[in-house]
């Protein structure tokens, strides 16, 4: 079981308290009626799915119920960092010491 740090509650808590909510930092289109079919496809369906550091949303559903973001290594499942929603995407090189 994963232990996840909620940046609002500031506690490490078991995975069962949290709901995964997909890839993070995917911005909703500012002007939806201007989008082409390809742009809709990219927004709705195309995902990074990296073998490496993944930026993702979690929700502390059985706690404070708030959304936050996490950077997690998808091979080891190790969390590198969790941060509040709205904060900018952290620099991967700084987190892992490896340029990507």
């Amino acid at each position: 079981m994963l232990l996840i740090h909620c940046p609002y509650c500031e506690q490490d808590l078991p995975e069962l308290e949290f709901a995964y909510a997909g890839e993070a930092h995917i911005a909703r289109p500012a002007d939806p009626s201007k989008l082409t079919d390809e742009e809709w496809r990219d927004f709705l369906f195309i995902r990074t799915n990296p073998r490496g550091v993944h930026f993702e949303r979690w929700r502390h559903i059985n706690g404070c119920a708030r959304f936050f973001n996490a950077a997690r290594e998808t091979v080891s499942d190790r969390f590198l960092l969790t941060y509040k929603a709205g904060e900018p995407r952290p620099d991967v090189a700084k987190l892992t010491g490896v340029a990507q």
Binding site: E15, L16, Y20, W40, R41, I46, R47, R51, E56
Partner: protein, 417 residues
């Protein structure tokens, strides 16, 4: 290659089983091939076999990062069925089922296909209504499926608890009698042996690091741990790692990779005659020929390449199994494992051409690729050989995520794959 027959078995017995030879050679790569298939699972090996057998293309290599059949082919719960709701899916999976029927004879290798029946339980009124609709729809599509009352279900599968006081009461079940199981490793081995006999090179322990394209955009070959190998056509059939490989050719896919877990009990005497699935409580179970109860769990909620998965899912699955089959409450579990499955937004596969000339993809089988093995392999071979899809896999394009013509099987069927 030794042709297996009763005479060979008797000869083997009389000679102390000492004269069996390796079933296929472990090849070293040549400088170039007509077709390279990335991923030596059942789908990839099968595609190589059908390329050689049906299309006369034998200058083929199947390249595998680990060992043959060591990915999801060796990690699934071996269940075969074709009772899918939508026309497109019904045709594809029923095509696979037709090929399963004679696969052992075709390959001259016993894949132990056992038509023991797959039974899907209905626990409430909604389940009954949607299952019956499913049965009718399947029958209209020519797909075998039938409806059983609770008593008939109990007669078909005696360990089932159908008492009204059960935590998950059984109100009836849909039964596909033609469905069943097969020995997963034997499928990979049988295809490998039959493909190698027709001249296909199987290259193991050779990760593909990149797909190379020429100035005109066309595929030129693959970079591997054993150097560059040129190819006129490349087909990627790498399950959970497909997005990583395809990214190197500049193709981004609508895929996410999740761990899917399964577990087996200690081996016991034959007790469980069929496969039982319960989609509402998410559990499914069968018994292997070795005697282990084979239990399928679910996918973890997060993207991962860890091939492990978390224990809470196993606990949840076993809780459901113990409620539906109280007889198994004191069974001990022997081991659990995970495989990485590639899931598409509509839970249907992507099998066809890509925007890159000469590059083909077979992916997105999610949690249910094993049952499709011969059908996927057969239609992938057709697509690669003719550079156009077989009518059966034609709807399973990558373009459907642009046009919106999805095959939304998960929403339609609400079933585990």
């Amino acid at each position: 290659m030794t042709h297996f027959s009763l005479a060979q078995v008797i000869k083997g017995a009389l000679s102390g089983q000492k004269n069996w030879t390796p079933q296929w050679p472990d090849a070293e790569p040549k400088a170039s091939y007509d077709v390279i298939i990335v991923g030596a699972g059942g789908h990839g090996l099968g595609a190589a076999y059908y390329l050689a057998k049906e299309h006369g293309i034998t200058n083929v290599a199947v390249i595998e990062k680990g060992w043959l059949g060591g990915g999801n082919t060796g990690r699934n719960t071996t269940i075969i069925r074709s009772n899918y709701l939508y026309d497109e899916s019904a045709r594809l999976y029923d095509h696979a089922l037709d090929l399963w029927e004679n696969l052992s004879q075709d390959l001259n290798y016993n894949v132990m296909y056992s038509k023991r029946g797959v039974m899907m339980l209905a626990h409430n009124v909604h389940d009954v209504q949607s299952s019956q609709r499913h049965v009718h729809s399947n029958r209209l599509n020519g797909v075998d499926n039938s409806w059983l009352t609770a008593k008939e279900a109990k007669a078909f599968c005696p360990p089932l608890d159908i008492s009204p006081s059960a935590r998950y009461p059984v109100l009836g079940a849909a039964l596909q009698r033609r469905a069943g199981t097969a020995r997963h490793d034997a499928v990979a081995w049988g295809y490998a042996r039959a493909a190698a006999a027709r001249g296909v090179d199987i290259i193991q322990n050779c990760p593909v690091s990149a797909i190379r394209r020429g100035p005109d955009g066309r595929v030129t070959g693959v970079e591997t741990a054993k150097g560059f190998i040129a190819a006129k056509k490349v087909a990627v059939s790498a399950a959970g790692h497909t997005s990583v490989v395809m990214e190197t050719a500049g193709v981004r896919l609508p895929l996410e990779s999740y761990p899917l877990q399964a577990l087996v009990s200690e081996p016991i005497k034959p007790i469980f005659p069929c496969v039982v699935m319960s989609n509402s409580v998410h559990a499914y179970i069968s018994q292997s020929d070795k005697g282990e109860l084979v239990i399928g769990s679910g996918t973890d909620q997060y993207v991962s390449y860890s091939q492990r998965g978390g224990l809470p899912l196993i606990e949840h699955t076993l809780a459901a199994i113990c409620e539906i089959f109280p007889i198994f409450r004191r069974m001990r579990m022997l081991r659990k494992w995970g495989g990485i499955v590639d899931v598409t937004p509509d839970r249907s596969a992507i099998l066809g051409k890509t925007p890159v000339p000469g590059l083909y993809v077979n992916c997105g089988w999610g949690t249910g690729g094993f049952k499709a093995t011969p059908g996927a392999a057969h239609t992938l071979a057709h697509t690669v050989a003719r550079d156009e899809p077989h009518p059966i896999n034609a709807p399973f394009t990558l373009e459907r995520f642009t046009t919106g013509r999805l095959i939304d099987e998960a929403a339609a069927a609400a079933v585990a794959h």
